[in-house]
């Protein structure tokens, strides 16, 4: 019975991941992460994704604070944040988040505040979706372990 439960959980996890891949939320970089996880680093994905979440939330907060500031003009600083977000998202394999960040960066390079605001909205939405899904995956994988 236990084995069945585990298998089911694992199947659920795989299904979740497959869905994310299918939706383009995750890309092959995430597969690389999975390959890096082995006996020597059994929780690699969990750790690195958690680091990513922590960092990203800080960056998103910064971006929001910057943009919502009435006298906002520091697009360059926003670009710096976006850079890091793009880098970490693409390193994780968070394809959709990364794409939105690229669009966000383009808007900020054009110094377009409305464009940035729009991009920030989409970014936050994509990020939340990713986080929820991955939390789910981890929960399932932890349960199965």
């Amino acid at each position: 019975m236990l084995g069945l439960g585990e298998d089911r959980l694992r199947a659920d996890m795989n299904r979740l991941l497959t869905l994310l891949f299918h939706q383009g939320v995750l890309d092959e970089q995430f597969l690389q992460l999975q390959q890096l996880q082995d006996e020597t680093s059994p929780n690699f994905i969990f750790e690195v994704v958690n680091i990513y979440f922590n960092e990203s939330e800080k960056l998103l907060r910064n971006l929001r604070d910057l943009l919502l500031d009435r006298e906002f003009s520091d697009y360059q600083r926003m670009g710096v944040h976006l850079n890091q977000l793009i880098g970490s998202s693409s390193s994780i394999g968070a394809k959709r988040v990364s794409n939105v960040c690229v669009a966000f960066r383009a808007a900020s390079e054009q110094n377009s505040r409305p464009g940035c605001l729009r991009a920030l909205e989409v970014l936050e939405h994509e990020y939340c979706y990713l986080k929820n899904r991955l939390d789910e995956v981890f929960h399932v994988s932890k349960s199965s372990n």
């Binding site: 970089q29 690389q32 992460l33 890096l36 020597t40 680093s41 690699f44 750790e47 690195v48 680091i51 990513y52 960092e55 710096v80 850079n83 890091q84 793009i86 880098g87 970490s88 693409s90 390193s91 994780i92 394999g93």
Partner: protein, 614 residues
């Protein structure tokens, strides 16, 4: 493909001992980088220290490879670590955008202070940024997300950097020498006609060994020698050729074929007397191998000379110079050595009429002396420039004699520095027999000085002298006639016993026999006895000198570094396959030792010389 090549390519392990410092403000990427590098069989040790994180230290299990990864999210910390101990790391990977310091700034500082290869990392693939990275001296520019395949190859940057640097220095050196030898153009043109067509054909093949061998190397010399000397030379060259051919096969199926004509007495006799063809050849080769912009013939002419010195010195571990670069082909080092030796000989000849040289390098004498003084120690400096000058100086002073003296001095130093006397005597004739004839006092420590002085005199005295009886190791009859007729204080042979490979000894015996009787008048006799052609004595003796030196070098190489060639081959393969950087003529001695140390001391048998991942 050679066996060595195959084994290297099949083994995808990394060279041991590559220590990487990874710098990235983004902890996600940093952790990923660390894990990736560790999976590349790096031995990981991570320290995350930053204002944002609690420091975490853990040690990865050693899997037998001592690749070490150190990570930091602060550029300032990275610099501090690098400055603390320059030898702590072999490679730096750095993000471009960091809060505390610009990645390019870090790149500059690391390049300036520590001279380490730096790889830039960025989420931005903007062309301008990439160019900025390159112009600041980055070895590579990786885009995030970083893939493990890209990281698997970064270790090569370390060696590429070495070779690149040496190549640059060598190019500069050649340029300098070329500029100094510009007056020789007329002579060069005259001499260039003979083998030029051949050379071009050969050079066009883009194969160093091809060009070099067909153009000048043992072929010419061998062609002229029908004596036991010649046979000895031939056999030596054969062995060398075979060896080279073996390794060369991997690079070019024609390589082995190209060797065969070398053995045959060539119809290129006229060439060997002419430094220009060789230099032109060299020029071609250099162009083919993308070494600097040596456009002038004179460059070529000068360059081989320097190279020869470099080579021999490199082998010896002499201070000023080193074996430059790894030839592009697996055949390289030995091939190159032979070539360069011959080039020296030919170049010497070309230098003969170059009176312009005589007044150009008075200041180089100290270099020569200094160099000699430095020889006994295994050096690490790659002052190619100095070597080039001194070599030119040698040429200026005594034409062949000088270079040969230099070479023989090198040989001596080589022996002493290596404390491997036994190998050297095989190559050195009993100099005592020459003592009466020679005025050159070649001591192990200050041979250069003596040679310098005597050669200077000799040069001035017998610049017009056509008969230079030249003992390959610097004892010259002409000297005797010009200089104070004292017995040579030949320390060259002190401590050396003549254990000989007959091959090596034969030519010298021949020479020796003749020299014993010889006076200036006898000189032509010797020449004719040893050399088929009644070419200029300089040329002939140059050949002799070259042969002996060549053999000396070959023997030394083989004795001291049994796998030298294969190592070089592998290193060169690794380098060439990825950037096509060709450094055919020089190899930094320090680098060489490092390579050999890496390859031989640890897990080389396991193929630690990483597989060539394209």
């Amino acid at each position: 493909m050679t066996v060595e090549q195959k084994s290297v390519e099949q083994n995808d392990r990394f060279p041991v001992g590559m220590r990487v410092l990874a710098v990235d403000a983004d902890p996600t990427c940093l952790m990923l980088l660390d894990t990736l590098l560790r999976k590349c069989q790096y031995h990981g040790r991570i320290s995350l220290s930053s204002l944002f994180f609690v420091s975490v230290f853990w040690f990865a299990l050693s899997n037998g490879f001592t690749y070490a990864v150190t990570t930091t999210s602060q550029a300032v910390m990275a610099l501090k670590m690098l400055r603390e101990n320059r030898n702590m790391f072999d490679l730096v990977i750095s993000d471009v955008h960091m809060p505390d310091m610009d990645g390019f700034k870090l790149l500059e500082l690391v390049g300036l202070e520590m001279d380490l290869p730096v790889i830039m990392l960025s989420a931005y693939g903007d062309t301008k940024l990439v160019m900025k990275g390159i112009s600041h001296g980055a070895c590579d520019y990786l885009l995030k997300p970083v893939r493990i395949e890209e990281l698997k190859n970064i270790w090569q940057h370390k060696y590429r950097l070495y070779l690149k640097r040496i190549s640059c220095v060598a190019s500069q050196q050649a340029n300098m020498v070329a500029s100094l030898g510009s007056a020789d153009s007329a002579y060069l043109q005259m001499a260039s006609l003979n083998g030029l067509g051949n050379i071009r054909d050969i050079a066009d093949s883009g194969q160093l060994h091809d060009a070099s061998f067909t153009s000048f190397s043992p072929t010419h010399v061998l062609g002229r020698l029908n004596t036991p000397t010649g046979l000895g030379m031939r056999s030596l060259s054969s062995s060398a050729t075979v060896r080279l051919g073996h390794t060369h096969n991997s690079c070019s199926p024609d390589g082995l074929n190209s060797f065969h004509p070398v053995i045959q007495p060539g119809n290129q006799n006229g060439r060997i007397l002419q430094g220009v063809p060789m230099s032109l050849e060299l020029d071609q080769l250099q162009q083919n191998h993308h070494v600097g912009g040596l456009s002038a013939t004179n460059h070529s002419m000068a360059y081989p000379v320097c190279s020869v010195f470099s080579d021999t010195k490199g082998i010896v571990g002499s201070s000023r110079n080193s074996l430059y670069g790894v030839p592009t082909n697996p055949v390289k080092i030995e091939d190159h050595l032979q070539d360069t030796h011959l080039r020296v000989a030919c170049a010497n000849q070309s230098f003969v009429p170059a009176s312009c040289y005589s007044t150009e390098f008075p200041s180089d004498a100290p270099d020569f002396e200094r160099r000699n003084d430095n020889w006994p120690s295994v050096p690490q400096s790659s002052e190619v420039q100095a070597n080039c000058y001194t070599l030119s100086d040698c040429f200026r002073q005594t034409n062949l004699i000088d270079s040969s003296d230099g070479i023989s001095s090198i040989a001596m130093h080589m022996a002493t520095s290596r404390q491997d006397v036994s190998s050297l005597p095989a190559l050195l004739p009993d100099t005592r027999t020459y003592s009466l004839q020679s005025q050159a006092a070649l001591t192990c420590s200050n041979a250069g000085q003596n040679v310098n002085l005597t050669l200077k005199q000799a040069w001035d005295n017998h610049r017009q002298d056509a008969a230079h009886q030249l003992n390959p190791f610097g004892f010259s009859a002409p000297f005797n006639q010009r200089l104070d007729p004292e017995s040579t204080t030949c320390h060259l042979n002190s401590g050396f016993s003549l254990n000989g490979q007959s091959n090596f000894v034969d030519p010298f015996h021949m020479l020796h026999n003749d020299v014993d009787q010889s006076t200036m008048e006898k000189t032509p006799k010797l020449k004719s006895g040893h050399l088929k052609e009644g070419n200029k004595p300089q040329g002939n003796y140059a050949h002799k000198t070259v042969d002996s030196l060549e053999d000396l070098v070959s023997v030394m190489l083989n004795q001291l570094f049994p796998n030298f060639l294969s190592y070089i081959n592998e290193v060169n393969l690794m380098v060439c396959q990825h950037e096509g950087m060709l450094f055919p003529y020089t190899l930094d001695w320090h680098l060489l030792m490092k390579i050999l140390g890496l390859l031989t001391s640890e897990a080389f048998n396991c193929g630690s010389l990483a597989g060539i991942n394209t």
